[in-house]
Every structure is written in C-alpha cells, then in structure tokens.
Symmetry: C2
Subunit: 207 residues, 2 copies
C-alpha cells in the first residue's frame, strides 16, 4: 500500500496523473517524441517520480497500454457453452463499450498509441492474444488457434473503430443488439467453425 500523506511520492493520484498525462502525450505526439520531462510537467510531478513508479519510458508505455479493465474477469465463463461463446463475447464487448464510455475512451487511446508506435502495438497485441487464448483455451485448441484469435480480435477492434471513432452511419445507427446478431455468428465461426471452405475457392479462380 502506498504511504498516505506523503504526496506526491506515495499518492495513487500522482501515479494516475502520470498515466493520464503519458496517455495524452503519446496519443498527441507519439511515443518517440514524448519526453519524461514533458510527462512530468503535464502531470504536475517531478520526473524522478515517473522513474520511481515505472522504471523507464518503456515501463511507462506498458502501464499506459494496460487495458483499463480486468479482461480476464470479463472473459470468465465465456466458454462455458462453446457453441455460444462467439455470441457471448460479442455481447460482452459491445455492452462494455456502450455502458462504460470511460473505459471505451481509454481503450481507444490504447489503440491510437499502438497505431503510432511499433512497440506499443507489440505489447497490446501480446496482451490481447494471451487473454483470448486463455479464455477460449479448448475452443481454440487446434493448429489454427492463432488465426482464430487474430480474426476475432481484428473484427471486434474494427467494429469498435467504425462505431466510435469513424462513426460510420451504419455502425452508429445500429442498436447494440443489431450488432450482436449480425456479428455474433461470425465470431462464433471464427472461434469454433471451419475456416476453409471449398466454395471459397472454386476451380475457375484457383491459381
């Protein structure tokens, strides 16, 4: 537990202020151009405190990328009925974005940071992959499990960007339930279905 009363060194507020400042600056300026001094200035703390909490700039990045929710908890029991897991993860994800705008904005900030910086992309990717693989364990236990996880993650991520960042009319006008019904079966197929389809490659297009 941080020591009370020794603010800013022991204050959870100071740690959070540093994370908020770093997230903003990484998104605004990119990781490479953001200095520890600039983060300290915006957070109103001594840069030495940032090193104290996060070790170095890479450690700060890892903390910024860390999802704002306990994804493991969010995925608990999601595979209890494997035949409905795709529907269920789609419903939980959309419900989270809809009902927790604070979390949604933080997730989008993570995505923007990751898009601007290779190392952030790697960190985010590894985190999400390991969660998906853990949550869906058996469902994904074939030689295509990495492809399955990639398809699930990229489809849900793309949907989130379409609805909340690009505000594509078709994605914003749909109700959450419309989206669950449209996308759920896709996610289900990506988790447990056949990914190769004979009709996907008819003779006349075969190279």
């Amino acid at each position: 537990m941080p020591t009370r009363g020794r603010r800013p060194h022991g204050s959870p507020d100071a740690r959070q202020a540093v994370l908020d400042a770093a997230r903003e600056l990484f998104a605004e300026q990119g990781f490479d151009r953001t200095t520890m001094r600039a983060v300290g200035t915006r957070a109103g703390v001594n840069p030495a405190l940032i090193y104290h909490y996060f070790g170095d700039k890479d450690g700060l990045l890892a903390a910024v990328i860390e999802p704002p929710i306990d994804l493991a908890a969010m995925l608990t029991g999601i595979n209890d009925d494997p035949s409905r897991a795709g529907q269920e993860i789609t419903r939980r994800a959309i419900s989270l974005w809809e009902n927790r705008p604070d979390i949604r904005e933080r997730m989008l900030a993570m995505l923007r940071t990751a898009l601007s910086h290779d190392q952030a992309a790697r960190l985010l990717r590894d985190m999400l992959s390991s969660w998906l693989l853990e949550a869906f364990g058996d469902a994904l236990a074939d030689d295509q499990c990495e492809l399955r996880a990639a398809l699930v993650g990229s489809h849900l991520g793309g949907l989130m960007l379409a609805r909340y960042v690009f505000k594509v009319p078709g994605a914003t006008a749909a109700t959450p339930e419309d989206l669950v019904q449209a996308v759920g079966p896709t996610i289900q197929r990506y988790l447990t279905g056949t990914l190769t389809h004979a009709e996907a490659q008819p003779p006349h297009t075969r190279r």
Copy 2:
C-alpha cells in the same frame, strides 16, 4: 489548371511534395497542430503554393485522405455474380495490400490521419461508404444497406490493421488465400445474407 513551366508553382512534383509532407505531418503531429508553414517548409515550397493548389487546410486534408488508387475501378464488376461478391472483394483487397506495399502504406497513413482527427475520419468514411454503396448497389438495396457497408468496411479495415500494423501472429502467418477463405464467407453474409435472427442461423448450418 496550374501553369506549366513555372516550377515550383506549376510542377506536379511540387504538388506531390506538398501532399507527402502534409501526410507525414498530419500523422506525426495531428491535423490541428500542423501549420501550412510547416508543410511548406518540409515540402520545400512557399506556403502560398499550398493555398494555390488546395484552397485551405481542409482542402489539403481532403487531398491527403483521397485514396491512392481508383477504388471505383478496383470494384468494377465485383457484383457481376452477387453470390460471390464477398469472396471477390476480400480477394481483391488482400491482393492489393500484398502486392502493392506502396499503396498499402498510403492507405495505412490515411487511417492513422483519420484516427487522429474527426474531420479526416468523416471524409474517409463518406468516401468509402459511397464507393461501397455504388459498387454493390443492388446487393445492398435493403433497409440494412448502411449496416452492411459498415460491417464490410470495418472487418476488412480491422484485418488490414491486424496484419500490417499490429502484426498479430495469426494474421501475419496466414497466407492471403487462408484469409480469403476465412473472411470471404463473412463478407458474403454481410453483403447478401441475413443479419438478424442470429439464433436461427447457427454457424454449423453454414456447411
């Protein structure tokens, strides 16, 4: 029409240099913090020339967002066989990303710009929507056409980010044909299939 022979004023090279500089600066600094003066400096041209070509900063943004290929041409004939249009658009998109890294990088730069700026997001969204709706005209001619276009665009966009930006192992290890076979049927369903009553359409009835 720009006057020929009055370089840099009339040079297509100068126009392209301005676009390249603006694309870089928008991606690096965001649209709002990028000044016409900075674009001119990086492009090595007088800022007045930028106004001459693009009118104002919004006009410059629109030109930067403009896709680097003739999307209308790319989509020609794609709906000749509506039952295979989803497969076909998936194949053409992946083939383009694979075989034209120059175009792929420009598309990703557009995405990054759009992610950092609302107006760029709106421009890109409207352009892509109108192309999709035009290309798939009849296939999309129901009251869900906007949702269909949003699902197609967001899924393909998410896949592109997963493979080339986040470099998710499952997405990078797959061959283009793997991806076409996995994703093509989804795109087909989004174009012409039933989007509601997910319960009535479990994945195992697909095959």
